[in-house]
């Protein structure tokens, strides 16, 4: 109901009330004035007595336009009701009649929908005769196909819906299924369609009357008034423009009413929760060692409503496969996107240091030195372009290759990722590829240049297990043969353990632990321990229930003063809830925790 108090709702309510009030009281108030013939004041222009002039019998145009509201609205309403009734009847026929005859009815409905309604109405006017009655019938028939098709498609969709099948399986009687489940779900779109159909019926009726098929004198609606006024547009434009304005006004009113009905019936969208917060991330010690392919210090990503990454630091060495794990919403994918310069608007990326290949990272100058592989190979390739083309354009854009040599390289790269018959495959569209082949093509796309870094964002999550192994093997092979570093983002700790040499564990936008993959079982952070424990592998005792992490991860809009994991942590004490732990170096580890598990604390 909140829609009613919004600007659109209020405007619509006011317009609808004005139109309805005019329709009810207009004829009562101004009929006498509208019908009083004044031979001395024929075809007058604007004057004080007649603000919009007079017609060919000296009748006041303004009064006539106001009075015509009732007939115009009434006829439109009548035609819509009739059309909807006929349409619903026709639309339910195929459901009742069974497959063969029903199919014919459906074909007929689809055929008639292709014809413009107004033309149908004009042709039916021949059969029903010229005049208001005939026009109502003709317009009703013209509106029928739309309602019929909507009824039919909705009825079929609902009849096949899970909840209807469930009700049937439960033995709910057929009549109850129809009244309780089917009808309410068809009614909603029909009501919305009805409201907007009144608007178009009103406009169509005005058109019919204007052409002379609708209301005949001495009756008059807006279309009739326009018909009488238009020939005088040179001398007294007001007498043509006023009924025209009335038609547009009422048309817009009913279109808005349709829009409002639609919004009232669909669920309200949730409001935005805005909670921007300032993070005073602790200055972290510089990670030592040689300069890596990628060096990130205190990376932060801000959105107006959330801060998905608040202070991540790590280094990625040449030829290294670094795992980045965490639950969904931990900020791991955003971290990958931030490095590649792909954070969507209005997100902002900040970092104390963000260096790629020894120089400050500039997404515009990355060229083909950085490649990305995404989670869903089904939708990550452009369905409208041939696969070879999508690979070749990388070389064309970044290496100034001509079309032929770029395509040759594309074929070569497809072969490199072990796609059989690469010449033929390059000429195919993505939908002709299987999921695993598409993911290999994506990796091949990344190999069009000589990438220093591949960011793989959940590249195996959407694939089945055998294909997963294939893709992991391929990434390892790329690393081995080309020395490419891989940032492997995944929620699947088992996969990360298998592939990566070092692992970053991310929680609530922060990296809580960094450790060798081999040390995952002896991790120091309680969260990492919990994550490992909740991930089954071959050694898991299957007679015991699988461990889960109690509670839920804080979402990025929440502000917590202490360690973000504290609310779910069994080791947490007072300090954990109030003070953010700074990262500390343990043996081969970096961990942000006040109570690291079993660690022989060696302060750096």
């Amino acid at each position: 109901m909140r829609q009613l108090t919004r600007p659109l709702g209020l405007t619509t309510l006011v317009l609808v009330s004005v139109t309805l009030l005019l329709a009810v009281f207009g004829p009562v108030l101004w009929s006498a004035r509208a019908d009083s013939i004044d031979i001395d004041a024929m075809r007058q222009g604007m004057s004080a007595a007649h603000p919009f002039g007079t017609d060919y019998l000296g009748r006041d145009v303004l009064a006539r336009t106001l009075v015509a509201t009732r007939l115009s609205v009434l006829l439109a309403l009548l035609a819509t009701v009739l059309g909807a009734a006929l349409g619903i009847l026709l639309g339910t026929l195929p459901v009742v009649l069974g497959r063969r005859i029903g199919g014919l009815v459906v074909a007929f409905i689809n055929l008639t929908v292709a014809f413009p309604g107004l033309l149908l109405a004009i042709f039916f006017g021949v059969v029903f005769g010229v005049g208001a009655d005939g026009a109502v019938l003709a317009l009703a028939v013209a509106l029928t196909p739309n309602f019929a098709r909507l009824t039919y498609t909705r009825a079929v969709a609902v009849a096949e819906a899970d909840f209807v099948s469930a009700a049937r399986l439960l033995g709910v009687p057929r009549a109850v299924v129809i009244t309780r489940h089917v009808v309410p779900n068809i009614a909603e779109p029909l009501v919305v369609n009805f409201a907007s159909a009144i608007g178009s019926a009103l406009l169509s009726f005005a058109a019919l009357s204007y052409l002379g098929f609708g209301v005949q004198p001495p009756s008059y609606d807006w279309g009739r008034l326009l018909n009488e006024g238009l020939p005088r547009i040179y001398t007294d434009p007001a007498s043509a423009l006023l009924p025209g304005f009335a038609i547009v006004f009422a048309g817009i009113t009913f279109v808005l009413a349709g829009e409002l009905t639609a919004r009232l019936l669909t669920a309200e969208p949730p409001g935005h929760r805005a909670a921007p917060r300032e993070t005073a991330a602790p200055g972290e010690p510089e990670p030592g060692g040689e300069h890596g392919v990628l060096r990130v210090v205190n990376l932060r990503v801000r959105f107006p409503a959330a801060n998905p990454v608040c202070g991540a630091s790590f280094t990625l060495h040449r030829g290294e496969i670094l795992g980045l794990v965490g639950e969904s919403g931990s900020g791991k994918s955003v971290t990958g996107a931030a490095i590649a310069g792909l954070v969507p608007h209005p997100g902002q990326v900040e970092a104390e240091r963000l260096e790629f290949d020894g120089e400050p990272l500039d997404p515009a100058r990355l060229g083909d030195r950085l490649a990305m592989v995404f989670q869903d190979p089904m939708s990550s390739l452009n369905p409208a372009l041939r696969v070879g083309r999508q690979l070749a354009e990388v070389a064309e854009v970044h290496r100034n290759a001509d079309r032929r040599s770029a395509m040759a390289r594309a074929v070569d790269r497809l072969r490199a990722v072990r796609i059989r018959d690469p010449e033929r495959r390059a000429a195919q569209y993505p939908h002709e590829f299987s999921g695993g082949m598409r993911q290999r093509a994506m990796i091949g796309m990344g190999l069009m240049g000589e990438p220093r870094l591949i960011i793989a964002d959940e590249p195996t999550t959407a694939l089945d297990v055998t294909v997963q192994r294939d893709i992991l093997g391929l990434l390892r092979e790329v690393r081995d043969t080309q020395g490419t570093a891989v940032l492997f983002v995944s929620h699947d700790i088992a996969v990360v353990r298998e592939l990566a040499s070092r692992v970053l564990v991310m929680y609530a936008g922060r990296i809580v632990e960094e450790l060798p993959a081999s040390a995952l079982d002896t991790a120091a952070h309680p969260y990492t321990r919990a994550l490992v424990a909740s991930s089954p592998d071959l050694r898991t005792d299957r007679s015991l229930p699988l461990a889960t992490i109690e509670g839920r991860a804080p979402d990025a809009t929440e502000e917590l003063p202490g360690c973000p994991f504290a609310p779910r942590c069994s080791y947490a004490d007072e300090r954990c809830h109030t003070e953010l732990p700074a990262p500390r170096d343990l043996a081969g580890h970096r961990v942000s925790c006040w109570h690291p598990i079993g660690a022989l604390e060696v302060r750096a």
């Binding site: 055929l111 004009i122 021949v126 052409l211 995404f374 409208a384 939908h431």
Partner: protein, 315 residues
């Protein structure tokens, strides 16, 4: 290639069946008229001998099945009869009036599509991810306004402003090329506005698609991003919508021709219906209906050609 033959044959068959249904409908139309159509057309005062003669000319005194077969035969050979009122052959009327209507509809269609697709894409790109809210509000308001105003009222407004008040364009007829401007504008405005809205929404949908993120990850220039990667994915919905637009333009020409006093088939249709000149109305129903079916067929084929997946989906 085989796909295409099967597909084309199937669509062509559907087209022919639809044409047959149209022929049945137009035949039924005349016979559904209450009373004797010839008597209705010629008026109550017409001499009985004339009515009988006309009935015989039209074959209305034959048994129904025979009439229908004759009707089909005449349609197939293109003999459309002649007007009850003027006695002129319908073919001559059509050959004189159809070009003006076809020109109007084609120009309006081209204008609507050529304006709406770039505009919708441009605004869609500009307003992606909630950028440029001012542009978005302005675009939605203006196109919303134009898509609600019916073409014949816009025509009235255009005549008033540009022909009557400013005198820039002639208010009626198609005597000179400038005379096309106002009727074409009136016809193109609403469908163009509607199409540009749809193109904008579709553009934003495509820009959010994972494959566009892939294209961005390849760091392609904007030109390739939007023209090569986004545009082809907009084609299906744009083509579907274009078909509906062309269909609605058929009805639009009837009204706009009447307002601008353009001697086309639309004007002829209104006069013939008012005069109850059945042979002409019947022929025009075939022409308009056939045009609608043809548009349907062309759009179907164009969509199949534009979308690499559609031939596979086709059962």
């Amino acid at each position: 290639m085989n796909h295409w033959l099967v597909f084309a044959a199937r669509r062509l068959f559907r087209f022919v069946v639809s044409l047959f249904v149209l022929a049945v409908a137009t035949f039924a139309m005349v016979h559904a008229i209450p009373g004797d159509p010839v008597r209705v057309a010629l008026g109550l005062k017409a001499p009985a001998a004339l009515v009988t003669a006309k009935r015989h000319d039209l074959g209305l005194d034959l048994p129904l099945p025979q009439q229908f077969l004759d009707y089909l035969q005449r349609l197939c050979t293109g003999r459309l009869g002649s007007s009850l009122i003027s006695g002129l052959p319908v073919r001559r009327l059509l050959s004189e009036q159809l070009p003006a209507t076809a020109q109007l509809a084609c120009y309006a269609f081209l204008l609507a599509v050529l304006l709406a697709v770039p505009l919708g894409m441009f605004v869609g790109v500009r307003t992606r991810n909630g950028r440029a809210r001012g542009t978005e509000a302005g675009f939605v308001t203006v196109t919303g306004f134009f898509s609600v105003i019916p073409d014949f009222l816009l025509a009235v407004g255009l005549v008033f402003v540009f022909a009557v008040t400013l005198g820039w364009f002639p208010p009626a007829g198609l005597a000179s090329p400038v005379a096309f401007v106002l009727p074409v504008l009136a016809l193109a405005a609403a469908p163009g506005a509607l199409l540009s809205r749809i193109v904008r929404v579709e553009t934003r949908r495509v820009l959010d698609a994972p494959y566009l993120r892939t294209a961005r990850a390849k760091r392609l220039p904007d030109r390739l991003l939007y023209l090569r990667h986004a545009l082809p994915n907009l084609l299906t919905s744009t083509l579907t919508m274009s078909g509906l637009i062309l269909g609605s333009l058929l009805a639009g020409t009837v009204l706009v021709e009447n307002i601008f006093a353009i001697p086309g088939v639309g004007m002829q249709l209104v006069q013939s219906v008012l005069n109850k000149d059945y042979p002409v109305v019947q022929a025009l129903a075939i022409v308009f209906g056939g045009a609608a079916l043809l548009i349907h067929l062309v759009v179907d084929i164009a969509i199949a050609a534009a979308d690499p997946r559609s031939t596979i989906r086709e059962r």
